[in-house]
Symmetry: C2
Subunit: 332 residues, 2 copies
Amino acid sequence: MQTRYFTLRDYPQGMPPRELFELHHQELPALDEGEVRIRNTWLSVDPYMRGRMSGVKTYVTPFELNAPLEGAAIGEVVESRHTSFRAGDKVRHMAGWRDVAQLKGDVLEPLPDMDVPDQTFLGVLGMPGMTAWTGLNRIAHLREGDNVLVSAASGAVGSLVVQLAKAKGGTVVGIAGAADKLEWLEQHGIHAVSYKGKDARQLGDALRDACREGFDVYFENVGGDCLEAALDNLKVGARIAVCGLISRYNSDTPDRGPSNLSNLLVQRAHMQGFIVADHWTEYPHFLEEVGPRVARGEIDYEETVEEGLERTPDAFLKLFEGANRGKMLVRL
Amino acid sequence: MQTRYFTLRDYPQGMPPRELFELHHQELPALDEGEVRIRNTWLSVDPYMRGRMSGVKTYVTPFELNAPLEGAAIGEVVESRHTSFRAGDKVRHMAGWRDVAQLKGDVLEPLPDMDVPDQTFLGVLGMPGMTAWTGLNRIAHLREGDNVLVSAASGAVGSLVVQLAKAKGGTVVGIAGAADKLEWLEQHGIHAVSYKGKDARQLGDALRDACREGFDVYFENVGGDCLEAALDNLKVGARIAVCGLISRYNSDTPDRGPSNLSNLLVQRAHMQGFIVADHWTEYPHFLEEVGPRVARGEIDYEETVEEGLERTPDAFLKLFEGANRGKMLVRL
């Protein structure tokens, strides 16, 4: 059986050009004892992957050049020499960016038995959902009635953050750009604020109009002007969970940095970066709390789906154009 | 009896000119029931007072123009109509910037009975000392063996921070400017790094040379290049206590902001602003822990003393020239 997979030819500066991604194919060897062969059905592309394309070790190791790229994926076992798996089993693993994966069974997770579509375990019930839950509950210590601000509020993470926050009863404000994203937010009872055509000060003014008394929690996905505008609208004792700074991921110039960090002092605010992998032992807890709500249709999640392995790099690059709503996926 | 006191004529932009401070005198009325008259012996001037000269409410209310300025002071009761105080008692209060204060007895604190000079209750055992202890223990959660970085390390707060941190056994690095300050640090077993003639990157390199493995704790008194250099030298899970940002207090242009806030994310670091007043209920706890060490001579504290009420504004302005070592005081 053949596998087709993507590699990275070089570490990009700035936005990666499409040509850096190369599609290869290879005949797979017969399975060794303990190995499993999986036909992937869904691939995940995520902003954090840009960090792995830098060639610099940050909180994740860089992708190896000219080797199969990696990422979360869901698939069906087609052949197994591992006692815990047999053909037909659905599994989640990290050998994405390819159509057929061959792995030691020990690195596979069986999909949880819940009445939800498979791909939700890459999105609202996968890493992005767990990120939203962890940031709100474990980093920002969300409390009943908190006013919450979220940037990239209609993204894979942000769209769950706003819904989890809304359920706690405070005012929730989401920053987004495109008209359909703003509309989606308003439909869910979120005050939507567009960043378009606004500098940091103007965005700050718009946030003040949306929530006069300021924010207890800011869930940061973007950085740049969003962070600066948020820092001007904190309540005393505010907590900022820094989940991502996507506005900077493809930048090759130094950030200007927010001019108003002194607000951390004035408002005795707390700002903390986090990486969801550090909290993964809590995944069962998250799944128990959020899974049934997804199954009952109480949580609205959106997906942007590209079709076919060949489109994987395009799906990834679209993350940085603001072209996706909710989770960006590739269906094979 | 007359009192002489300073007022502020206008809210300054940038560094306050000396002429903004005006000395007045006034005949004091007879004491009302419950009032106490105090002849001040020591006045405190502190960087936070600059914030009260802005006319903008931040975490402290602005000074009222043309009214007596305020600040911590120590004095001796000369007359009392309050049952808890009598002539000769030593007290601490907030009616500084004057030679004779007349106050309700309820706002006076008797000086603790410890074998230390009176003025230590304005410095190492007063607000600056309590600030050092609170930032290290309650905000940065200092642990045994932590590597600690301190900016303005020979100042009233910093000089205690480095000694408390050093007692916990890790590497302690202090940033300062003048040669005598660097020398003082080295004499106390602190790795001293000069910020002079270095941009943020060069300062970061110097910090790396001083402590290869990076810092668990950064105690921030300065901001600007110090913060940027520190952000490049954090260990995973680092805690930054933001006590002050003195580099910005007299600035009338927007801060550039650190270009590398993304390190908060990479290192899952925690950054928190704090105001010591929020933690004042813990003062007895601090005094119990640090007081005996000061009395036994185990803590070295320095004082820079100006003589005479007339010099109070000059003492205050020197805080921003880096001219003081340790606590800046005025002796009356």
